[in-house]
């Protein structure tokens, strides 16, 4: 399996490296504005923007074409891209503004306003393409899915062999990075508390529009490499993954960059290896290659799922582990309590054989784990015929039973409840009373010696 993997990767050429670099730069430049959109709860705005920039691009293209025809502009690719970006940014800002206006005047919610504006603008873009189809060369497949493999092959110029897409996406990443660092404070404040931002004299609405322009330009830069649909994945998924992993804003931004880059690497490796390794085994021998852009989205999704499971603070694995740990602790404390009460009722010497053999029934694996834990820590000794508290275990058990009976006494004083209602809650509470709370409770009840059922409340032996 591994040798096959290495075999498949042994055909790694310089082009593969350029593909990964292009993809990583595109993904990283998207991840930065994406993180802010996510925090502003505007994640879908990226999706919408990716559609509404279309008329801007087409109009910019037409304007450029017209200027070139009149020889006002030389057919220089650097300027061409700049004009395209400006077209996209302007139509991005425009669509954000129109959305805002429609939301205010039409009294619609943001989602509805976005739906109206962005689909209409996309339609206008398509119409423009149709009207001037002979002048623009927009390949729908390329726009939707992008073509990393092709874009990594087009060099910047005949003398500089770096792919053009690397330069464009790299420049975009650099610009976004500088903007985010320079405006970090302002972005943070206007995102967290627009009200205070405005009161302090910061134009939160301008920041929003600037973010829209930045997102639109970034999208256009990345379109060519990863395509319109996958750009959305790169915009939101790395940021969402990073958000799961940290509660610090700066760490989140750095992490989303790393995750974006990692998705690019994993995506390309996956595109090279997965088709023949997985699909042919699954009975689809016809699947020979996969698009790197598509695999990047899959990789990003995989990283997201992994962090849902493994996130240190909010992860599902962590939550399950915590719950099991708590259950085991409660179960082991219950065993201690049971043994203590058994010894309290009948002296060890008088125990009947059946009580000796089955004093601690093991109903579940949690209880099994609990007994193992107690044994390992030296709280109980287990032999074939006898489960017995050690001195250490007895001390611990005594404190638990003390908590239990103190709580029953407390309940009996403050709640109008019949005696048989007290046990169940005390059974829960006993596991959560700290020594301080226990002391406080005993003081409030004037150091009682008996619980409401007339049983002795053992003294506090645990310091």
């Amino acid at each position: 399996m591994f040798s096959e993997f290495y075999n498949l990767l042994s055909g790694w050429f310089a082009l593969d490296t350029w593909i990964v670099i292009t993809a990583a730069l595109a993904a990283m430049s998207c991840a930065l504005p994406g993180a802010w959109l996510l925090l502003r709860r505007q994640s879908l705005l990226g999706d919408a923007l990716s559609h509404s920039v279309l008329p801007g691009i087409v109009l910019a293209y037409l304007a450029m074409h017209w200027m070139e025809e009149h020889h006002w502009l030389s057919a220089d690719s650097g300027i061409r891209h700049l004009v395209l970006f400006m077209g996209a940014a302007v139509s991005g800002v425009l669509s954000a503004m129109v959305t805002e206006l429609i939301q205010r005047w039409g009294r619609l919610d943001r989602g509805a306003a976005m739906g109206v504006v962005f689909t209409s603008m996309f339609a206008v873009g398509l119409l423009l393409i149709r009207m001037f189809a002979d002048k623009t060369h927009v390949d729908p497949g390329c726009v939707l899915y992008g073509s990393l493999e092709t874009s990594a092959m087009i060099p910047l110029s005949s003398s500089i062999q770096i792919p053009r897409a690397v330069v464009i996406n790299g420049a975009m990443l650099l610009i976004n990075g500088i903007l985010v660092i320079a405006f970090f404070k302002e972005l943070r404040l206007s995102t967290f508390d627009p009200g205070l931002a405005a009161a302090l004299g910061l134009r939160a609405d301008w920041i929003q529009l600037a973010l829209m322009a930045m997102t639109a330009a970034t999208l256009v830069a990345a379109f060519e490499s990863v395509g319109a649909i996958l750009v959305i994945a790169m915009l939101i998924v790395p940021a969402a993954t990073a958000r799961l992993l940290t509660d610090r804003l700066s760490t989140m931004l750095v992490l989303s960059l790393l995750i974006a880059a990692l998705s690019a690497v994993l995506g390309h490796v996956g595109a090279l290896t997965l088709p023949s390794m997985v699909f042919s085994r699954l009975g689809y021998p016809d699947v020979r290659d996969a698009s790197t852009a598509g695999m990047m989205a899959v990789a990003a999704g995989g990283l997201f799922v992994a962090s849902i499971l493994a996130s240190p603070r909010h992860g599902a694995v962590r939550r399950v582990m915590d719950r099991i740990r708590l259950q085991v602790r409660i179960a082991s404390e219950d065993i201690l309590g049971k043994l203590y009460r058994r010894d309290e009722a009948v002296p060890v010497e008088d125990l009947t054989p059946s009580a000796i053999v089955t004093p601690v029934p093991l109903r579940t694996w949690i209880e099994w784990l609990a007994r193992r834990r107690l044994e390992r820590r030296g709280f109980i000794t287990v032999t074939a015929t006898m489960n017995q508290l050690t001195d250490k275990g007895r001390e611990m058990a005594q404190s638990l039973v003390r908590s239990h009976r103190l709580w029953e006494a407390y309940m009996a004083r403050h709640f109008e409840l019949p005696g048989d209602h007290l046990h169940a809650t005390a059974e829960q509470v006993e596991h959560f009373l700290s020594p301080e709370l226990q002391t406080e409770l005993a003081e409030e009840l004037d150091q009682p010696s008996f619980d409401p059922h007339g049983k002795t409340i053992p003294g506090s032996s645990v310091k």
Partner: protein
């Protein structure tokens, strides 16, 4: 007749009307706040209490009226005014810690596009200490209790070292300890010669906590020292339902073509 507004007043509102989508929610407010006093803004739900604060701070547009802070416009006096928004107005899951939030109050002082340096972080920490939360400085804000979150907001206003504070329901949903801490803080501010206008809901504590009241229900019902203005008669006028006619006219202004039944 024109009202005369003293230039020493921390906040002078001259004939302010505020409308949402053409429908006035505050009518012709005319008010001068006293200096160095704690003022409660009191009124039923929908009376326009938050709207009043937001409108004078230009967070929402005014239809009409002129606002002066210490005799000058808001733009000229921004640094002398501290604003405490409602706690529920922000997303407390946002990935920042308590110290970050307090430091936000200093952003204007720090200057735009500059990072928060150590000096400012220390100021923020000192403010957190004043509200008794120094040990929570590094705590993610979602892990704070409601009362602690409110105190973080107050610390953020304190750090601005303003002369006039506008607070939107700082007592809403806080525990008894936080309520005491806030009252203590308000009194500290007053003894330092500062003024605070506080939207307040609990009529029981108005006389205990505040020097003056501003009774509001779409219009200014009464204002002045608690013992003079906070009377049963004024409260009845404030809480005894909105003026039916004001409401109807407002409705007509928003829907001019709808005939009311």
């Amino acid at each position: 007749m024109t009202a005369i507004h003293p230039s020493t007043s921390p906040l002078s509102i001259h004939d302010m009307t505020v409308a949402y989508q053409g429908r006035p929610v505050l009518w012709d407010i005319d008010y001068d706040s006293p200096a160095g006093k704690l003022v409660a803004i009191v009124g039923p739900n929908g009376a326009g209490k938050s709207t009043l604060i937001k409108a004078v701070l230009e967070l929402i547009p005014r239809t009409d009226g002129d606002i002066r802070f210490f005799g000058k416009t808001y733009q000229q006096q921004r640094s002398r005014i501290g604003y405490v928004p409602q706690r529920t107005s922000v997303d407390w899951d946002f990935p920042v810690n308590a110290l970050d939030v307090v430091a936000m109050g200093l952003y204007r002082q720090i200057g735009w596009f500059r990072p928060v340096s150590k000096r400012y972080r220390q100021q923020a920490l000192a403010a957190l200490e004043r509200v008794g939360l120094a040990e929570f400085a590094g705590r993610q804000i979602s892990e704070l209790s409601g009362g602690q979150q409110q105190r973080v907001f107050l610390a953020r206003a304190l750090v601005q070292n303003a002369d006039l504070y506008l607070m939107d329901e700082p007592f809403a949903g806080v525990d008894a300890a936080t309520e005491r801490a806030i009252v203590e803080l308000l009194r500290e501010l007053r003894s330092a010669g500062k003024t605070a206008l506080v939207v307040h809901h609990d009529l029981q504590t108005v006389a205990e906590y505040f020097d003056e009241v501003l009774l509001l229900n779409m219009r200014l019902v009464a204002s002045g020292p608690v013992e003079q203005a906070f009377t049963t008669e004024n409260l009845r006028r404030t809480y005894g339902g909105k003026l039916a006619l004001l409401d109807q006219v407002g409705h007509r202004m928003r829907h001019p073509n709808v005939i009311l039944p």
